[in-house]
Assembly symmetry: D2
Homo-oligomer: 240 residues x 4
């Protein structure tokens, strides 16, 4: 009853050039496509945020703040839904018994802190709040803010469900930080069966001695996504 | 009924030095710890494998083949269970309607190909088979081979369940390739609530013009894991 | 920046009749629809299978064996893809350190046993093999057999991914056993964002003193799914 | 290199009595055990809640409100952590493009409605709020309220992660409603590798003409969980 054996394709002359010509599968924007933005929050994007000392260089070099605003504008102009996956740490998260390196750091510097999900005291303008210039878009109906992720990926929130409940199958991904939350979202959305592209310069990452988070992110975006856009290329694509 | 507001800790004098001193939370090996190895298969680790042209440089530089064998030996000697998460592409996987860049490539070069899960014809010694020198360990009872992952992470297989069913809560991770399957396993195991360390030099990654997969992997391991071991350090730790 | 408060709809005259008139959202079969069948294997559906003593009554009453064959026929005739999610227990699964009631039983009676994923010895015609009369369909290209689930749901296999990679968003669900694997697949597919209907009489369940698994399954199908078909109704729907 | 073939155990004289003697694997409460309660909210448990007309009969018969309070008291007295998985529907959830039967109903009757996660206006005492008598427990530190689930199971929230981050491996489950959220939590926690018991009479379910949700729930709890407690039995167990 076994299926007939699968004849292996003969691969003649394959060599490292195959990788040198890493495929670019491409990405077609259609009515099942949404934009997903991770962590457009003060602690990452404001010079007053707790991580500016290490992400500021990359945010500035990539022009991330402006590029993310362009994404909101392109979405609104083109009838594309935007989903935001934010990061909040609640009081009880500070009692976790183990954490990885960046988790430990984020907790130590009180990044994204908020009392709990039923408390909004002190939230407005805090590091956990959205960057002020994005609020006018986020308040509109084309933007949905899903529940908070708790480590780096959307495994703990309702992002995938909210996308599917709107019949979204394809995602254009951007946000902060590139090699942590954006990349974890990219990987999980892929496993969830979404077709995913990334806007490379609408992300930024921490750069510390010996470890260039932005280079890591851009490398992995290129290896993993269906396509890596620049903001300019995406804009031209949508204006065709 | 809201919980009392959470008072934000006052962070005095925090600056970029915090990141410069990226925490190293550490990892204590105990009886709830297992070793997880991804893709110890010919297509990655044999000079005859279909990806050697691009991963060979990193495999050789990191001494990955020998380091992975050391992990099998250390596990057996110290009563540590090993779980292998392999990669198989079946005939029907070749009819997928969309794929990311590396997925496209892997299918194109017939990497890890196997007819189906009820076929073993032509499997022995194929690119999908385990590296010959590891088989004497894998055949023993301390090693469990879980179902195949299908993209890069363990979301599509039973790795997490098999670990939990053996009361494993902590993972020492290694294997191929570093910035794809190892890193996706790291990220998903973290979201699944495992405490995870990585053996950095028991991984290797593709290096292609403009994109250093190994640098990306080592950077992200350092940011995300509880600790990054060298094989030598792990050996010393277990011999204490 | 908070979104304007959501005004609760005034619900006038709501009472228990609302539930008495439990909504039937309905299900429209289109080109994004597939049929998913769980465990069409001898141990459930053959009088020689290890569970026949307790599921036989329900299999016979529901006409499950014939109804499942009708689903294969309808699928082939109407160009609908079929995905099978099988159940295999490997040797290493028998060393699990804890299990629920039915898991314990399934292991005890060696249900669905198979050596491992690289062994097909003794598989043909075993309790883990597909019912003989279904093999002529399963061997064809419109049927995809995904990896095995390990408890009751598709969380440990690649069912969701395989469906999405074929651009499937809607599922017609059937198979064995109703209140265990079918229902766990229903619940997980729903959380994964699929629109799901069930063919109630193409399932069957264990009935033991004090516990009617079939009644439980049919109740929960009605509460949870978008629509519950009979095989006859589905046939008529497809012949319109 | 295949593992030696697994010899099937000879099962002599197995018959339906095996199921008649459905195993009761048992459950040992230790320091890795927590109590998880789903939806202890007014819309389910208060006579003023929107579902009382259909769940009231079962809530009263099972003595659910008092039994859940006993669980909070037992937890506090015995140093057992409690995790609450609540249900909130936000404004944007009302724009979903498809839903199953009960989802459709819950939205129609504005069950668990709350503006959004950054709004608490009108929340206090609403159908989405916790039952007043439980608040004095929930306000204490032994209780953690995780993010909201969005369909029936914990796939969209951080329950599993929060449990693991506290080194919890075993769960005693209760809450509302039995055959929907409790059962979906039971099934998903099992797939996530937790050892799970249920307190049968600290749940209740909708009973509508032709469909007894409570019978379905109690049947499936018995089939699936490691053990089904009564509140009285759990109390005695903890007082040993």
């Amino acid at each position: 009853m076994l299926k007939s054996a699968f004849t292996l394709l003969v691969v003649i002359g394959w060599n490292s050039n195959v990788f040198a010509q890493l495929p670019d599968p491409g990405f077609e924007i259609d009515r099942t496509t949404a934009i997903v933005i991770t962590d457009p929050q003060n602690d990452f994007l404001s010079p007053d945020g707790v991580t500016w000392g290490v992400v500021g260089e990359s945010v500035t070099a990539n022009n991330t703040v402006e590029n993310l605003e362009t994404l909101f504008q392109l979405a609104e102009a083109n009838g594309i839904k935007v989903f935001i996956s934010p990061h909040y740490y609640y009081k009880h998260d500070h009692s976790w018994k183990f954490e990885g390196a960046l988790e430990t750091l984020m907790h130590k510097i009180t990044m994204f802190d908020r009392g709990d999900q039923l408390s909004t005291e002190g939230f407005d303008g805090s590091g956990a709040d959205f960057l002020e210039r994005y609020k006018k878009y986020i308040d509109k109906d084309f933007v949905t803010v899903v529940g908070p992720h708790k480590v780096f990926g959307p495994e703990q929130n309702d992002l995938s469900l909210q996308l599917r409940k709107q019949k979204i199958d394809k995602v254009i991904l951007a946000g902060m930080s590139g090699n942590l939350c954006v990349e974890s979202h990219l990987r999980e959305l892929l496993e969830d069966g979404f077709e995913v592209s990334v806007v490379g310069d609408a992300t930024a990452s921490a750069i510390i001695p010996g470890y260039d988070g932005n280079a890591a992110a851009q490398t992995n975006f290129r290896f993993i996504a269906s396509h890596v856009y620049t903001t300019k290329e995406l804009k031209e694509e949508l204006q065709k």
